[in-house]
Amino acid sequence: MTSVEICGVEFKNPVIAASGTFGFGREYEKFYSLSKLGGICTKGLTLYERHGNSGIRIHETIGGLLNSIGLENPGVDAFIEEELPHMEKHDTVIIANVGGSTIEEYIMAVEKLNKTNIPMFELNISCPNVKQGGMAFGIKSDVAFKVVSEVKKVSKKPLVVKLSPNAENIVDMAYRCCEAGADGLSLVNTFSGMAIDIYEKKPVFENTIAGLSGPCIKPIALRMVYEVCSAVDIPVIGIGGIMDYKDAIEFIMAGAYGVQIGSGNFVKPDICLDIISGIEKFMKDEGIKSLEEIRGIIRRRS
């Protein structure tokens, strides 16, 4: 009933754990069987190991949190060797989330991942682009077009591009990623935000700017997903502040094929299960036979 095909990959339900909030699943498998999930996005992987940022990394805000993890991860090789075999024990779709600071880095990471059985890649274009003076790949459509088309050339798996809400024009960004060959889109990543320690008289984060996530961003994320779904024909995965099945249904009605749950996992480790069963119950109560019936339904009506 809740199953859905996204870019040719079958998901048993539309609920996917979002990158960076779920590690490689090891911690959450202590709370429930990960085979119940539609899918899991890995922590953002880069070609080489990264230590991430120093200083405070988490700061709570009203309705969410700012994070400045800085892509701490073991690198693609270590992931493939130490984490992937364990992840593959679960009967769920594994999505490799790939980050990088140069196009070459993305390409080399994807080439290594090509050799695994991972069925889908998610390209995180919110990473700072070192060649463009640290401005993220995901801000200007032309820059994104470049990285997506290069990565698409080498990728042997369906390529979902994860859009940043900080893009200058989210609809144009989506268009251009499509043109560049993206098989699907996921959005949103975190919003650029900041916080100041008024007693220390300095920014809370060493990098000054950090990424905002959680239910506080949901209305904006939903609007962006709606606009993107109305503009492109490839599948879209909705992300941003989803805390319960109602939020998930909103994204699906806006046009999303799947949804990702990020910060919600911190509030309740098995929140994804609640969302899956909530969706099932909603569908039963409302007499909905497949997600397709309601996907994008608000567009069909307006």
């Binding site: 909030t21 590690g23 405070i56 990394r57 988490i58 309705g63 949190l65 239910p215």
Partner: protein
């Protein structure tokens, strides 16, 4: 032991000193000294749960000793007996217990919280050094399980007048355990390194998941990045890299 996410019922929640409260929650809770729980007694706001050390466990009833700092701990302080609270734990890696020889425990303020359970569970009796601002608190829970007790207060109202590190003698011990404000722990670490005594430090970091998934609490150690919530909160002193 794998952590669990569950609801508990507050059996008591009492003010033990100015802004320090002791909360007991039943039943069937487990954990080791130095481990902690993520606690939550609200729906959506504040967004994150709060990490609080296990202060004691007796017959499955768990005790938390906490200081009211901001809105989370303030909400804890308003809980009444019979109210429910969400608990995620036990989490992290606690203090080593299989220690031989003389043990010194040195804390600052609310850093006393995990030490009650530690004193209780240690195989040997330890010396306890407690540094406080105005006056000591909760010492009755410590007294019975320690050998010697040293107290200092900034105010001079009780014990040594000044910092507890001024009367701490690391060379007397074969192992030292510490929990408290970072500046204090850094002095303890320096003293122990000089005296060549192993020291176990309970670290604090802002936490989001509390279970090792978000990397929000990572710190640099001599053996690479470690998660305070999973590899810690207790670390060997020499592992910690203070970068500033």
């Amino acid at each position: 032991m794998d952590p669990k996410y569950c609801s508990g019922v507050v059996s008591s929640n009492t003010q033990v000193y100015e802004n320090i409260y002791e909360m007991k929650v039943g039943e069937n809770f487990k954990g080791e000294p130095g481990q902690f729980y993520m606690l939550r007694a609200w729906d959506r706001e504040p967004f994150l749960s709060r990490p609080i050390s296990i202060s004691n466990i007796e017959d499955g009833t768990i005790t938390f000793l906490y200081e009211v700092k901001g809105k989370g701990t303030e909400l804890f302080s308003k809980l009444k007996s019979g109210d429910s609270i969400e608990l995620l734990g036990p989490l992290g890696t606690g203090f080593p217990l299989d220690i031989e020889g003389n043990v010194g425990i040195i804390v600052g303020g609310i850093g006393i919280a995990p030490m009650v359970y530690l004193c209780h569970e240690l195989s040997t009796k330890a010396d306890f050094y407690g540094g406080f601002r105005e006056k000591s608190f909760y010492m009755d829970k410590i007294e019975k399980n320690v050998e010697n007790l040293y107290i200092s207060t900034d105010s001079g109202l009780e014990g040594h007048s000044g910092f507890i590190t001024e009367i701490f003698k690391p060379e007397k011990y074969s192992s030292v355990y510490t929990c408290g404000p970072l500046p204090m722990m850094r002095i303890v670490l320096d003293m122990c390194i000089k005296a060549n005594v192993p020291v176990y430090i309970s670290m604090e970091r802002q936490m989001a998941c509390g279970i090792g998934a978000c990397l929000g609490c990572s710190i640099l150690t001599t053996s690479g990045m470690k998660k305070v919530c999973k590899d810690g909160p207790v670390f060997k002193g020499e592992e910690i890299v203070f970068n500033d």
